[in-house]
Symmetry: C2
Subunit: 337 residues, 2 copies
């Protein structure tokens, strides 16, 4: 019988997740049935949205049940297959969660082309985060030549792609990140026009100085203080695609006043703003178009990416807790085996 | 020399406007020059946006200067003309403000067709408010057959048109208004599917009960407590066109906490909401299409309207102050002469 080592949700966190919200166990897996395959997980993707799944609050997806395996995207190797489309040794993208092995239905995995790009990119720049950036920016943000696009968590897999795609479309890209090292990477490695450190005492002033023509697109994946500084700089008809709010995922209750909602609505009205939440699954039918466009951009070096690879499944909880505090530098991936 | 009696902005209000924020004077007008006409104002439109013009705060339009004539749309009769396109006796739509007479450039007025509808409709259902409803609902709200559309200030000129157009498009219309009389008019006169009194102690529960399938379009022209009750009822992919926030126009400073902005952004994200501010001028090129569609709807009785006509320019300040508190019933118009 195959076995899996897996990390379960042990309890729901109050605020910041702690190591004791997770529990590791080893369990037997059934043999793969007709149309299924046994997978050995190679890489596990860690992403901010997982914080939402740990809570019971209503969201776009059902929460992970207490006692269930933590969810997540994975790159895996086929060990045994009972489906003609897969054979041992194939590398696939699957949604197998935080574990070492899994049984998957062949129709729910996607075979990866090993010649095109390193397999880990299927979890980052050529996967969900890259697609989120591409679809959200181009479909909702619609940056035009010469406009200014601002994105936070800008060295992350979504933010770095947003800025680089904005530049390909002729817009000016201003990135926000935490710390000097990340900010340097934004301009030197990812080609952003300007980088602002959100830890700076003069963050709002520095952002304003970096956006002399105002902001036309704010790609919101963070929330919190950054949004506050962005709001007064938004131009008329600015677009704000919202794909994440990592800065508030650990919030435990109503925030203290003053109430900023009336001010936001006033800005929406007087500047004809568009605020639009989205989840990348909404654009699923555009995935082939994305791969066709993004693949060459990466091959030509027009879109660069950075990965932060942590060794060992047992380190996933600690790495995930750090992710929510911006400790990673690039797409956070756990090398499982 | 022609004369005009006019109402000026005497001082900027702090919060709720008071009669002493206005001042009346009589002044001489110049003779009309080449391409101009002397107008005798018949009707003055009073609208919530005028509250914004009384303040110095940045908005989509410049504020009225202290000592200047209060702005506003008017229906006027041509008394004397020095332009071939206008002759004495013509009725025109002009933007002449709170006064009895005015000089206007012929190219800035629109001649009204007296046979089509009463001239006052050019200030309401066939004018700026009706156009705001039509353009905002159809271009941004995009109600589909069977969806639920909610609008507040629903007996007002914008709200009543929103609900009736929503029904023409096959949607369910739920209106919110203050008091039993207005609520009755919503269902009996304007054909809304349901009407909710925002003064009710159980307002939020009653709104929820009136929207068993949730809310797909919330046409925001009020803000405040109504928005609060709407938010939890919004369906995924709901659209929120924002054309006004009358409930907060008299606010004098930051609102007390808790801070509702994080909750709003969470809803935007998890429900893929679209919030979109707009001013009807954005859609100006659609005005002919609007008149072509709305005219027959009115003629056929498919869109009804109600006017609240106050006699005498001197009553404009009092009527306007009441408007901000929902005291009018239908499109508020001052009969100037």
């Amino acid at each position: 019988m195959p076995e899996t080592t897996r990390i379960l949700l042990a309890s729901r966190p109050e605020g910041r997740p702690a190591p004791n919200n997770f529990r590791t166990e080893t369990a037997a897996l059934p043999e793969p049935g007709e149309g299924e395959a046994l997978l050995k997980i190679r890489y596990l993707s860690l992403d901010p949205y997982m914080r939402g799944r740990m809570s019971a609050a209503k969201s776009y997806a059902a929460p992970v049940e207490v006692g269930a395996v933590m969810e997540g995207g994975t790159v895996a190797e086929v060990v045994e297959s009972r489906d003609p489309s897969l054979k041992p040794g194939d590398m696939v993208l699957s949604y197998s969660g935080w574990q070492s092995h899994a049984i998957a239905e062949a129709k729910h995995v996607r075979k990866l082309n090993l010649e095109r790009a390193p397999v880990t990119t299927a979890l980052g720049v050529l996967g969900m985060p890259g697609f989120t950036a591409w679809a959200g920016l181009l479909t909702l943000g619609k940056p035009k030549q010469g406009e200014t696009v601002v994105v936070a968590a800008a060295t992350g897999p979504v933010g770095s792609a947003v800025g680089q795609i904005a530049r390909i479309k002729g817009a000016r890209a201003v990135g926000i990140a935490g710390g000097e090292k990340k900010c340097r990477a934004l301009t030197e490695e990812f080609g952003f026009d300007a980088a602002i450190d959100h830890r700076s005492d003069n963050f709002a002033e520095e952002l304003a100085a970096a956006c002399p023509d105002g902001i036309d697109v704010y790609f919101e994946n963070v929330g919190g203080a950054v949004f506050e500084a962005v709001l007064p700089l938004l131009n008329s008809f600015a677009r704000i695609p919202v794909c994440g709010l990592v800065a508030q995922y650990n919030a435990t209750g109503p925030s203290e006043g003053p109430d900023r909602l009336p001010g936001l609505m006033r800005a929406v009205l007087t500047k004809s703003l568009t605020i639009r939440g989205f989840i990348q699954t909404e654009f699923a039918e555009k995935m082939p178009e994305f791969l066709k466009e993004m693949g060459p951009w990466i091959a030509e070096g027009r879109v660069r990416y950075r990965e932060d690879i942590v060794e060992g499944l047992e380190r996933a909880p600690e790495a995930f807790i750090g992710l929510l505090e911006g400790k990673n530098f690039g797409k956070l991936i756990v090398k499982v085996s």
